[in-house]
Amino acid sequence: MAKVLGISAHYHDAAAALLVDGELVVAIQQERLSRIKNDPGLPLDAADACLAYAGVRGEALDAVVFYERPFDKLERVMVNLMRNLPRTWRQFPRAMASQLGDKIWVLDQLAEAFGQPRANVRCFAHHQCHAASAHFVSRFEDSAVLVVDGVGEHSSTTLWHGQGAQLRALCSIEFPHSLGLLYAALTAWLGFAVNEGEYKVMGLAAWGRPGHAGLRERFERLIRLHDDGSYELGLDYFAHMSDAELGFGPKLEALLGPRRPPGLAWALEGERDQHYADVAATLQQVIEDALLGLARKAKALTGSPNLCLAGGVALNSLANARLAREGGFEAVFVQPAAGDAGGALGAAILAALELGDPRPTPMLSAALGLPVDIERAWAVARELELPVRRVDDPASAAAELIAADKIVAHVRGRFEWGPRALGQRSILASAAARETRERINRLIKQREPFRPFAPAVLEPRIGEYFDGQANDMTPFMTTVLPARADRSDALGAVTHEDGSSRVQTVSPAGAPELHELLVALERGGHAPLVLNTSLNGPGEPIVASSEDALGFFLRHAVDAMMIEDLVIERPA
């Protein structure tokens, strides 16, 4: 029986996850504490917070595990720099400084930080950690596991077979061929920040016409999909071998047109932005086709009825929905932190299994972070002279506010693991009126006009509003379902341009506080359904602590904030 701390860091979305006796006790992304979006730094704050929450001292850990093999990664970086001489001359000094100055020493840094003998600090391969983070917390005894991201040490795509507490590598596709880097290059070409704007590309895709004006043929030069499920990038169009930041080369601009300037306001009724939307739609279609090919290969190799997905590309909820429909599997699972943060979880599980612990129980809830300190929230709110009061029934109080068309910041329970707000740190509002969505956008989120908002619905009621049933992904918002056209009255604020919704199904086990709220709404004669978007302003990480929440209330014009049983209402 062991205490194991998993760590992911040094690329993006650094995180820590703590397993005690094989069970996941707490998992935290560094950005929630540092308040730096996608913080890549060594997550010592997150790790310390995990240990403090579990009451474990660093010295008492049985293992500290890193989600990547630093020297394998160094080798890939070096080989790539040498192979692409002389184009890599700009990248070389920076890459060397980053690798030799910091990254290869990470295991020693971890040993020192947690007072551990160096022998207790170990590492596993990047994709193995991703695969472990998916299969071992799924409910499946047997699953095919597909990992797709930018790149780990060498691999960008890997297939695995998970059986009970075993995980077996099957085959891989290696860098520089990478679906993640294709998506990153197009994200940059569309004028969005890489590792952050990918959701925007997915949202934009619904406004475009896939394959319009020969785009599909042009994409065939960017990526060739083979019958055996593998793929190959047209490397001449990309620059990720020689430019870590931009990812695409002049040939891509010659093929698709000039890059969209970052930060320019969107006008989708215009021809120019319609072209960018068409490219996004075509990219989405190509990614889905590629993932389907990979999933079919995984099915053929494993014969498993279940599929687990991990890696940054697994956060593409549209593609996940298509895999669930057409992949040939009975069930598909994507854990909420499928990106690099999830590597911390996978690393911890792999070490715990090696130390003889059992496989963790299935992940039912993403509320794995820290709770708020209510007394502190009360004291600070009073000092800020905010009109704070306590209520006996916070769920009913929040439901009444939402029923009265108020926009409510909802801070209850432990904060979420992964990039989705799932009711613990959410902005909630009525899902019915489209104007609510526009109000949230104008006052708080300032998102591009094409980006959708998601609904959260009581799990047993899902069929009343959406064409489909709850599945392994819906509690974590990692898939989409079509909104029922005959219920558009209830779904005006949460239906995307293509008629889909990235719906969250809410159960008492997954999000108890949000469940109580939806039950209270239904009890009051309203639809058990809310608009649920993350509690953060533009460019900010999602709120974690009570101080973050109060800071958010000062800055953003929500009508009310619930912090556990505290209510703060903004005067009309």
Binding site: S34, M82, R83, N84, I173, E174, A193, D228, R259, E383
Partner: protein
């Protein structure tokens, strides 16, 4: 006249000489305000006093607003200057946190913030006078607006510093300690700046020397395509 004021006056014509340079400078201010916001948010979370937490949160809120105001004006100037879309000014405003509250402790953190705010006031007053003399009313008005907050920040941090310190002498010692620490940090930063340049040159030489390895790597480690068995 303080060194800050003298330097600001001397460098004004250089720093603000064109819309492009002005955009750079204001973008730098936006980053500084964003970094300060991160430090204040952390301080709000870590201080044991709800009263000081509230003060830090209000201050952090101001810094967020200032960062947005500076960033917006920097982008307006960048547009006037026709700065390339790849320029940093177009990127989202993102700074790193120095975690000063953790590194310095609350007393020195307050001293540090106070010293920084007081210095900003001195600089901004010089800039405002310069902008007014140049007829740049928009920039003068931006800084004048922010100066109101900076005065408030300098006042409250001084009050909290003297309240938190055991004695007036202890507060003054903290102010001196922080000034020495800042000077040392500036010295280290200068050393780092120089070392980075030396390193770049050295690594480019290494790169040239390693060129033959490029051929070897292409022969020994060719690119793979398609599936590779585990």
């Amino acid at each position: 006249m303080s060194l800050t004021v003298a330097l600001a006056r001397m460098l004004n014509p250089l720093v603000w000489r064109s819309p492009a340079r002005s955009a750079d400078k204001l973008h730098g201010f936006a980053l500084a305000e964003h970094g300060s916001m991160l430090d204040l948010r952390l301080a709000a979370r870590l201080t044991p006093s709800p009263t000081r937490a509230a003060a830090y949160l209000r201050h952090a809120d101001d810094e967020t607003r200032h960062a947005q105001m500076f960033g917006k004006r920097a982008r307006q100037l960048a547009r006037e200057a026709g700065l390339a879309r790849g320029h940093a000014v177009w990127e989202p405003i993102r700074a790193d946190s120095e975690q000063l509250f953790v590194g310095l402790g609350e007393l020195d953190f307050l001293a540090f913030v106070h010293v920084g705010e007081a210095r900003a006031i001195e600089q901004f007053l010089v800039y405002v006078a310069y902008f007014q003399a140049q007829g740049r009313e928009r920039d003068a008005s931006l800084l004048t607006t922010i100066l109101v907050d900076e005065h408030r920040h300098a006042d409250y941090t001084r009050a909290l510093l003297f309240e938190l310190a055991d004695s007036e002498a202890a507060a003054r010692r903290a102010l001196r300690r922080v000034r020495r620490w800042e000077a040392w940090r500036t010295w280290l930063r200068a050393g780092r700046f120089l070392a980075e340049r030396v390193y770049m040159v050295a690594m480019l030489l290494v790169y040239l020397l390693a060129a033959p390895l490029g051929l070897l790597v292409r022969w020994a480690r060719p690119l793979t395509r398609g599936w590779r068995d585990a």
